[in-house]
């Protein structure tokens, strides 16, 4: 019970902190002091209190977009184990639901973008659709590999199974997976080198251009949903790359929080040292990620 409570509290309150850590890391690389760690919280709260401006072309789909994408991410957060602790809800095949919940959220975000009738938002929506098609197989190769390694059919079982002993046993396959999944993590959360959440040029954006017309509370929900998505997908990645576990519940929670912050620092570092890719290069990198993951599957199946 305590563990479920901690899981929920972390899922609700921690996500924006990751954005703060990423921002701070980037500021450190640029030699600035940077915004405080809690800045994303202030931003979201201010947006939630603001008024809204709607485009006259929009329908209810536009209003549903942010709600659906946040709700689906929140349900996905119930399925993913945090650190060594199993998820509050776990059943055979929950990894499929996990993957498809994001697709549902994406469906409505993209439809909401097209609802505005703006060609910029249409452009963002088309890019999101294309890149997610290419990212999806990578995730499933990873799930197949993990399912085979652990002999189980649920996220909690297959992710908690990953430990230093599994790393010794199937290290090559896991290294390939870590590579593939890191690319997926970055593209799904619209980070550099795929997308730049801070750019100011609509023509080059993906996620931010889709939500260009949202304002006020809806935009607050979108910002919060984006940080939650980073948190939920990050929790998946942390299991693969940083599988620390001690067996003591409180220490394990602490280790999980530290690994998530480490991940934020890593993402911040990548964002600081890399330039954005040209849009035509992105599919190539995504296909490469799929191939990495496919190699890892073949390694464990042979």
């Amino acid at each position: 019970m305590t563990n479920i409570l901690i899981h929920l509290l972390l899922a609700i309150f921690m996500p924006p902190l990751l954005l703060g850590v990423i921002g701070k890391t980037k500021a450190a690389f640029a030699g600035r002091i940077g915004a405080p760690f809690l800045q994303p919280y202030y931003d979201i709260f201010r947006l939630l209190r603001k008024g809204t401006v709607f485009s006259t072309t929009t329908t209810w789909i536009f209003r549903a977009g942010p709600i659906v994408s946040l709700a689906t991410t929140a349900v996905a957060a119930l399925l993913i184990p945090f650190g060594a602790h199993p998820a509050p809800i776990s059943f055979q095949g929950d990894m499929i639901l996990y993957a498809y919940l994001f697709a549902l959220g994406r469906f409505f975000t993209m439809a909401a973008a097209l609802d505005t009738g703006s060609s910029f938002e249409g452009m963002g929506s088309a890019r999101e659709a294309t890149y997610s098609c290419l990212a999806e197989p990578t995730l499933f190769f990873a799930l197949i590999t993990l399912s085979r390694l652990s002999g189980s059919y649920s996220l909690s079982a297959m992710l908690i199974k990953v430990s230093s002993s599994i790393w010794l046993e199937a290290g090559a396959a896991l290294i390939l997976l870590v590579g593939g999944m890191f690319i997926v993590l970055l593209v799904e959360n619209c980070r550099i080198p795929f997308d730049d959440p801070n750019t100011h040029l609509e023509l080059t954006m993906i996620h931010e251009v889709m939500v260009l017309d949202h304002s006020g509370p809806a935009f607050g929900l979108i910002q919060y949903g984006a940080s939650l998505k980073l948190f939920v997908l990050g929790a998946f990645f942390v299991h693969l790359a940083l599988p620390y576990a001690t067996g003591t519940p409180s220490v394990d929670w602490l280790l999980f929080i530290i690994s998530m912050l480490e991940l934020a620092v890593i993402i911040g570092t990548v964002e600081s040292v890399m330039a954005r890719l040209r849009l035509v290069r992105i599919p190539q990198l995504l296909v490469a990620a799929t191939i990495l993951a496919a190699f890892s599957t073949l390694l464990v199946i042979r």
Binding site: T52, V75, L101, A103, A126, A129, T130, T297
Partner: protein, 667 residues
């Protein structure tokens, strides 16, 4: 109760006859077309209700029945029967035409279509009866009779508007391909007779699959039934036929006729035991190719109904994947894979029937209101047709396989089958491991495609005033769509309701499950948990919705034009179009799609007005089949003299054939 007086099998046969004859009033010239249409719709609805009720009874009780009807043909008796597998397929066979018939009341009103409504209504009833008869047939000859009636009735329905050139061409293409498929069946059933010595269908799991003749049976069945189901690369008839037929006929064709092809394949597979591994892998491969390539073609389409037709190919691919997993499981002896794969495939048969019929009917409403099928001419339809937009939206989410609707449940079962397969060894594990990401990719592409359709057709602002969509559909059109949308939601949220029926049907379709010791579906899939997750999601959505609505009432809300990056006067033509949305993806799949673009030359400082066009052709038909057939045709010109169009000579051919057969039998 009627059920105590008549057995479910008897009711099904009566419903079949009732449906087949429902269009009879329409071919009596003295009956006014308007009256005849109403009578035939009522007859269809009665047949549908009786048929669905009886099919459900069979599924619940799991009882099989056989009717032996002696006839004077020189083959064995005519045998009809019903078992849970037949009953499962009878659900869409009666449900979709029932919905479509009611829809046709205003969509194809007798008063507005005097030229073809009689023909269309008559053949629509006949088609429904014939499909039901195919599923009930238990001997080769009555199966072929029903099959041919079905195929021919469908031809007349496709060519309803045969005054249009493209419709006529689509009808001809359909007629040719369906007969090539039937040719496969003409090979299949005599081979079966050779193997068993009887024209009756053999008992379940009675044939050894390792003999060469079994291989021949498998391949001919795959060809004949695959042609009807529209599996790649035998799908060439499907896009144009579905696009040319009236929308409610497209709904029935895509929702049900393709499934009769699936039924034929599944029924044939029940005859065998000990299937070799390559059968399953081959079916799986066909499924993966159909799924990925079908949806890639769909993304490139500009015609709303052609696009939906390509999605049928994709969904048939998903069904094949399920059957493939089940077959692989039969070889490796995994009862879980058999159950999950077959249950997923069968559930997807029903699910695809519901959401694809819903989408075709929705497309029909849009076409009825706007007068065009061109996606890039439409836009903003949701404002004029809000209910149609909502219902089409439900169908779009369902067909993408997204939770909490029904498409997700069947794909979930198939995925679980894959994950089970991965725990095995060798080629079986590798095949299933590669199929799962392929299915994920199909899902991602389907989302892209339906966001495109929904966004371009229903959202934004109308791209041209003449096609803005005048009126909402009538209640006769909205009611069937509402029913289908509710089914999508109910199956998605409470899949447990179907568990028993699905298990019965899967065990009939995969007799090997029984030999391996049944693992009940409930032990393999946590269906109640999916219900809980679906409800959790809906509750969270409701919570956020009410909070958001409260926020909107307590904070200032303004309205303005869409942000155009500083540009103040956006035009409807500036919106993203279907082609531009799909451009990146068609580019990635250019190696199969072969998109064609007609680029203008732009020269000078003030270039003249020009235009740009791009489209994705049916590349397999245009680049492979037609050139090959043309060469074939040239070679065979001398033989064509035999086919001279003189009926008397054809009768002579019959006589000569009979004499030759007689002589060869006696010497």
């Amino acid at each position: 109760m009627i059920g105590e007086v008549f057995s479910s099998g008897t009711i099904l046969i009566i419903a079949t006859i009732c449906a087949a004859l429902s269009g009879l009033p329409m071919i009596v010239p003295r009956v006014p077309a308007v009256t005849g249409q109403v009578v035939s719709i009522v007859l269809m609805l009665i047949a549908a209700l009786a048929g669905i009720g009886a099919a459900i009874t069979v599924l619940v009780t799991g009882r099989a029945e056989l009717f032996v009807i002696p006839w004077t043909l020189p083959f064995d008796n005519c045998v009809l029967g019903v078992d849970p597998l037949s009953a499962w397929f009878l659900l869409p066979i009666f449900l979709i035409p029932g919905c479509a018939a009611l829809y046709a009341r205003t969509y194809w009103h007798a008063r507005h279509n005097p030229a073809n409504v009689r023909k269309m209504t008559f053949f629509f009833g006949l088609l429904t009866g014939a499909m039901s008869a195919v599923v009930l047939a238990r001997d080769s000859i009555s199966f072929l009779f029903a099959w041919e009636i079905m195929a021919t009735a469908a031809y007349f329905l496709v060519s309803t508007e045969d005054q249009k050139k493209e419709v006529k061409e689509a009808g001809t293409l359909y007629m040719i391909t369906t007969h090539i498929g039937t040719l496969g069946l003409f090979a299949l059933f005599p081979l079966l007779n050779l193997y068993t010595g009887s024209w009756l269908f053999p008992a379940a799991a009675s044939l050894n699959a390792s003999s060469p003749i079994a291989t021949a049976l498998f391949l001919t069945a795959l060809f004949g039934f695959g042609m009807k189901a529209g599996i790649m690369p035998l799908h060439i008839w499907l896009p144009s036929a579905h696009a040319s037929a009236p929308s409610h006929v497209s709904a029935a064709m895509s929702g049900v006729i393709l499934k009769v092809g699936i039924y034929g394949l599944v029924r044939t597979l029940t005859f065998f035991h000990g299937v070799p591994l390559w059968w399953g892998c081959f079916v799986l491969l066909l499924g993966v190719v159909s799924g990925v390539v079908g949806v890639a073609f769909a993304i490139g389409q500009h015609d709303l109904k052609r696009l939906l037709a390509y999605h049928s190919i994709e969904n048939i691919g998903i069904i094949f994947m399920g059957i493939g997993v089940a077959l692989v499981g039969q070889t490796t002896g995994s009862s879980a894979m058999m159950m999950l794969g077959m249950a997923g495939a069968l559930l997807h048969v029903l699910n695809h029937a519901t959401f694809k019929a819903l989408l075709f009917l929705g497309a029909g409403s849009v076409i009825h209101a706007s007068g065009t099928r061109e996606i890039d001419q439409l836009g903003g339809v949701a404002r004029r047709l809000p209910y149609t937009a909502l219902l089409f939206g439900v169908g779009a989410v369902a067909i993408c396989g997204l939770p909490p609707l029904n498409g997700f449940i069947s794909e979930f079962l198939i995925y679980l089958g894959f994950f089970r397969g991965v725990q095995g060894t060798g080629i079986a594990a590798a095949a299933t491991a590669l199929a799962a990401p392929a299915l994920a990719m199909v899902g991602g592409l389907a989302v892209a495609c339906f966001v495109k359709v929904y966004g371009i057709v229903f959202l934004g602002v109308p791209r041209s005033e003449e096609h803005a969509g005048g009126h909402e559909a009538t209640w006769q059109m909205l009611m069937p769509m509402t029913l289908l949308a509710m089914l999508c939601a109910v199956i998605g949220l409470a899949p447990g309701l179907l568990e028993g029926a699905l298990q019965q049907a899967s065990m009939t379709a995969m007799p090997a499950i029984l030999q391996k010791g049944v693992q009940p579906l409930a032990a393999l899939v946590p269906l109640p948990l999916l219900t809980i997750m679906g409800i959790t999601l809906l509750m969270l959505l409701a919570l956020l919705y009410f909070w958001y609505r409260y926020r909107l009432t307590t904070s200032p809300v303004g309205e303005t034009v869409t942000w155009g990056c500083g540009y103040q006067r956006p035009l409807a033509r500036m919106q993203y179009s279907a082609s531009s949305f799909a451009q990146m993806l068609t580019g990635l799949f250019a190696f199969v799609l072969k998109p064609q673009a007609h680029r203008p030359r732009i020269a000078g400082i003030f270039p003249r007005r020009t235009s740009f066009q791009s489209h994705v052709p049916e590349s397999l038909l245009e680049l492979v089949y037609i050139p090959a057939l043309e060469r074939f045709y040239e070679r065979f010109i001398p033989i064509r003299k035999l086919q001279n169009g003189i009926l008397q000579q054809y009768v002579l051919y019959y006589l000569i054939t009979l004499i030759v057969l007689f002589l060869s039998d006696n010497f």
